[in-house]
């Protein structure tokens, strides 16, 4: 059976980014930017909020000792989630 990737996954992750930063990184910028979150103004405290919100929303455990580099942009997070079968239906 073929699985389909949830097409709005990038948008959902970008909304979590905007929420974690209280909008200092807006949805549109989060989706479009290929710069790291730190480069577009996300602080370390907001990053903690983002990781927790991803864990809560998708019921996954993110090991930052191993997967930190997969958490630097929306695109990378989406790829990480897809690798973990999140967003497939």
């Amino acid at each position: 059976m073929t699985s389909h990737v949830e097409t709005d996954l990038p948008d959902t992750v970008a909304r979590l980014v905007a929420s974690a930063t209280d909008g200092t990184v807006p949805v549109e910028q989060a989706v479009r930017s290929d710069q790291s979150f730190a480069d577009i103004g996300m602080t370390s405290l907001s990053f903690i909020r983002l990781i927790d919100s991803l864990e809560i929303k998708y019921g996954i455990e993110i090991d930052l000792e191993r997967d930190l580099d997969s958490m630097r942009t929306v695109d990378l997070i989406v790829k990480y989630l897809e690798r973990h079968d999140v967003g497939r239906r």
């Binding site: 480069d39 370390s44 405290l45």
Partner: protein, 477 residues
């Protein structure tokens, strides 16, 4: 007895106690043996009794053996936040006369000290400020100075801080502390590292990026009796709400103490933790005085009772605010790199005049607000000037004003209004600041204006700057 003698005697007496980090488990006996090896390595590389040794690494078991080795050699260790910017480290090295360093990254002539850190000589050469005769260790504060100030401490001050804390918290060899604060920080140093080593408590170093999820998993895996964490961790645990797994909830409830510090705990968060069965114990302390009060979590809104021998009074500062003046037996001696500044903040009786307003209510300290231009973001305190200076180095920024803001969800953050005639790439400005100062100081909210709002006397109006920066949230909505 000196700090190093006390620590070595205690580690020998509690040789079976453990330090647990991401790499594994080390006994106190292992740590002692490792510290002997490192002391020899430091001596071989030229560290002497009068050396000043910067220790700038994250938490791991090797941090403890490195610190013991530095003290054993007789050098003056200076504990620094690993997130300090390169420019801040360079300034510190020159101002404090730091001739050797232990870091995660390798310098030109650095060699491996263990699997996580390198050590070697810095490029410092020249005259250096004198240490007080009793000083044996330095820690940093950025509360009121342009660059981090190094506070000198004596053996007695450090041991008094630890013993005061042990008495208040009842820390014993039956405890194991999960520490999610950096060991360079007063929260970890004064309540966990030194007291834990003296009492033979197990020390568990939490994840390097402590999200609530990873902290909860560490609690479930290690069953600590004490959690030491900044407010953001408790705020995030609350976000889990009823999605906490029964296993995590059960482990959380086995904590006998959940300790927070340095920034006020949100009332909803405090209530959530209390209802969960784990009230947050707050404490108040500042780098210059060491621990001041302790609240076991049962008196909401209070920073707690003064620790034994601590004296708290209030005095009027130059602006007419009634600020706390604190005398402890764990006070620092002076700032190594800002001569006279510490001494200038003491009353005639030797109490340190803080920037915090507050009152004593039935003996309990109720903190008010902070005066002056000190910012407090998630428990990290630093001066607005420490950000203003590097901002002004950026091309085409004529002037700027840095303030602390609350985001629409009530989170504290740093904002800066930049006076310029140019259209600035604000991400490039952030990148510039990040190369100069620690990441947590980089302004989250940046905006530009052709002119800063000023009063008729020419003074920048902070409230107007704050309004301008807050309007950027509205425009994003």
């Amino acid at each position: 007895m000196s700090l190093i003698s006390e620590l070595r005697a205690s580690l020998s007496a509690h040789s079976g106690a453990h330090i647990i980090d991401a790499k594994g488990v080390s006994s106190f006996a292992d740590i002692l043996e490792e510290s002997d090896r490192k002391a020899a390595a430091l001596k071989t590389s030229g560290v002497r009794r009068d050396s000043r040794l910067l220790i700038q690494t994250a938490n791991y078991s090797g941090y403890v053996s490195t610190l013991l080795a530095a003290l054993q050699v007789g050098s003056f260790p200076i504990l620094a936040d690993p997130s300090l910017g390169a420019q801040e480290v360079s300034t510190l090295v020159q101002q404090c006369g730091i001739d050797h360093a232990v870091m995660h990254s390798s310098g030109p002539s650095f060699v491996a000290l263990d699997e996580m850190a390198f050590h070697g000589a810095t490029e410092f050469a020249g005259q250096r400020p004198a240490l007080a005769p009793s000083s044996i260790l330095g820690r940093l504060t950025s509360g009121s100075t342009r660059s981090p100030a190094c506070i000198e401490y004596s053996d007695t001050a450090i041991l008094n801080a630890a013993r005061g804390w042990i008495a208040a918290s009842g820390l014993s060899s039956a405890d194991s502390s999960l520490c999610c604060a950096g060991l360079h920080n007063g929260l970890a140093f004064n309540t966990t590292l030194i007291p834990g080593l003296l009492q033979g408590s197990d020390l568990i170093f939490g994840p390097s990026v402590p999200t609530a999820g990873s902290v909860l998993r560490s609690i479930a895996a290690n069953s600590p009796t004490i959690l030491v964490a900044f407010p953001v961790i408790y705020e995030q645990i609350k976000e889990y709400g009823d999605r906490l797994s029964p296993h995590a909830l059960s482990a959380l409830r086995r904590l006998r103490l959940a300790l927070s510090s340095a920034a006020p705990i949100d009332g909803d968060v405090a209530n959530y933790m209390r209802n969960t069965g784990v009230p947050i114990a707050d404490y108040y302390g500042i780098a210059e005085t060491g621990p001041v009060t302790y609240n076991d979590g049962l008196v909401p809104g209070s920073q707690g009772l003064p620790l034994p021998t601590v004296e708290i009074t209030t005095v009027s500062d130059p602006a007419g605010d009634h600020v706390l003046a604190i005398h402890t037996r764990s006070m620092g001696t002076k700032y190594l790199n800002y001569p006279g500044r510490f001494e200038g903040s003491l009353t005639e009786k030797g109490a340190y005049v803080t920037s915090d307003t507050g009152t004593l209510n039935a003996g309990h300290l109720i903190l008010g607000r902070r005066t002056g231009a000190t910012l407090n973001i998630g428990g990290r305190k630093f001066s607005a000037e420490s950000i203003r200076a590097p901002l002004l180095n950026y091309p085409s920024i004529r002037d700027c004003h840095v303030v602390q803001l609350s985001t629409p969800t009530g989170r504290d953050c740093v904002g800066a209004l930049l006076e310029t005639d140019e259209v600035l790439d604000l991400n490039a400005v952030r990148e510039h600041i990040r190369s100069e100062v620690a990441a947590f100081k980089v302004p989250e909210v940046l905006a530009t204006a052709e002119a800063l709002p000023r009063s008729s006397s020419g003074k920048v109006k902070s409230s107007a700057v704050r309004d301008h920066l807050l309007s950027t949230f509205t425009s994003r909505a």
